[in-house]
Subunit: 211 residues, 2 copies
C-alpha cells in the first residue's frame, strides 16, 4: 500500500485499536489452485510475550484450508470508515478553484504467516475469546455456556481454526491532514451534510485528525 | 471466496449496483517485488459492446505501476455494509439455546486483468467520468471545468490510469437468509438497537433480503 508521510499511522496502540473496533477482516491468500483469493471473516488480535497473532475461523466447507499451504504469507486488511470528499467542501476552492476530488479512509494492513488449526481445544478457546470480545456491547452477553450440552462441540466440527502470526502492521489514516485547517473544517461540514450514516462516522475521524 | 448457496448473488444488475453504491475498491495484486499488495481506490464500472471494465487511477508516486506487470490477474473487492449478529437476536435461541454468533456482510469480488494507462486523454476522460459519478449527489456538482486553465492538466501528470478488464464478478449477500423468518426479524430489531450507524444500514439490507 502506498502511504504518503501525511497519512502514515505508526502508533501500534492505534493500529491494534482499529483492528478491535473494525474486526471484520479481509484475509488475502495466494495458492496455485485458486490464485489470489479473499475471504472475509472477523479476526481477533492477540499477543503473548513477543509474538502477535490474529485468530479466527473458516467453515470446514470452505476449501481454503486445502488449497493454501500452512505457513503461507498472507495479507489481512481491516477497514475503518471511508468517504468521498468533494472539492466543494474546501473553502479555498471557492477562492482559487484549485482542488480535485479525493477519498478519505482508514485502513490497517497486516502481513503474516497463516496456519490452519484442527485442534478442537484451541478452536474452542478461540471462539470463546471471539465471543467475549463481540458480545461485550450486548446488555446480556451471550456465552458458549448458554448453548445446550454438546451443541458447541458439534458446531466445532464444522469449522477450521485460522491463526496468522503477524510479521508487520502498517496503517493509513487518510483524513485530509494535507489540507489547511479551513479546508479540514469544510470537509467535516460537508460530510455531516450528507445523509449517509457512514459519512458522519468519517466526519468524526476528520474531527480528531491532526496535521 | 466461499459462497454457500443461500448467500449467492447472481443478478448482474445487483452486482453492478453494489459497485456503484460502494465504489471504494480494494485492488489486490501480486508481484515478484512486493508479493501480495492491496491499494484502496475508488473504481468506476463501465462497459462497451461485449466487455466490462473498472476504471480509476493511482498516484504516480505509488510504485505499483512499476512492480506489477501489465496484464496481471487481479482481484478487486467492493464492500457493502457489515455487522456482528449476536445469538441474542434470535428468538429461537431463547427456546432451544441452539445458536452461535455470526457476521453479516455484502461483498462483490471482481477478477480481471490490470493495465496501467499513461495516455493523458484517456486519463482525463476517466477522471471526468469518475467526477460526474461521485458529484451526482452534490447540490452543485463540481466539474473539471471549475478548475482554472491548466490546473487539471498539471494534476493529470501526477496520476497513472488503472483499467481492469473484467473476467468474472461474484457476489455474496450474507443477510441471515438461512434463518427462519422470526430470527430474521430479530436480527433487524437487534441491529436497529445498536448505536452504530453501520448496524442500521445492515438492518436495512436484512429488511429486504429474501430467503
Amino acid at each position: 500500500m502506498f502511504i504518503p508521510k501525511a497519512f502514515e499511522q505508526n502508533n501500534t496502540d492505534c493500529l491494534i485499536n482499529l483492528i478491535r473496533e473494525y474486526p471484520f477482516a479481509t484475509l488475502i491468500t495466494v495458492s496455485e489452485v485458486e490464485g489470489i483469493e479473499a475471504n472475509q471473516i472477523p479476526l481477533l488480535f492477540t499477543q503473548d510475550e513477543d509474538k502477535k497473532y490474529l485468530q479466527g475461523h473458516i467453515a470446514k466447507a470452505n476449501s481454503l484450508w486445502k488449497s493454501v499451504k500452512n505457513g503461507s504469507e498472507v495479507l489481512v486488511i481491516f477497514n475503518g470508515p471511508n468517504g468521498y470528499i468533494s472539492p466543494n467542501y474546501y473553502p479555498t476552492k471557492h477562492e482559487t478553484g484549485k482542488a480535485v476530488p479525493t477519498w478519505n479512509y482508514v485502513t490497517v494492513h497486516v502481513r503474516g504467516r497463516l496456519s490452519f488449526i484442527h485442534d478442537t481445544d484451541w478452536n474452542k478457546e478461540m471462539i470463546d475469546r471471539l465471543t467475549v470480545e463481540h458480545e461485550a456491547s450486548q446488555k446480556t452477553p451471550w456465552t458458549l455456556n448458554d448453548a445446550p450440552e454438546g451443541y458447541i462441540e458439534k458446531m466445532l466440527q464444522a469449522i477450521i481454526g485460522v491463526k496468522v502470526e503477524i510479521t508487520s502492521i502498517v496503517g493509513k489514516w487518510k483524513l485530509s491532514q494535507n489540507q489547511p485547517e479551513k479546508n479540514r473544517n469544510g470537509v467535516i461540514k460537508g460530510l455531516l451534510g450528507q445523509d449517509q450514516s457512514n459519512a458522519s462516522v468519517m466526519a468524526s475521524w476528520v474531527c480528531v485528525a491532526k496535521q
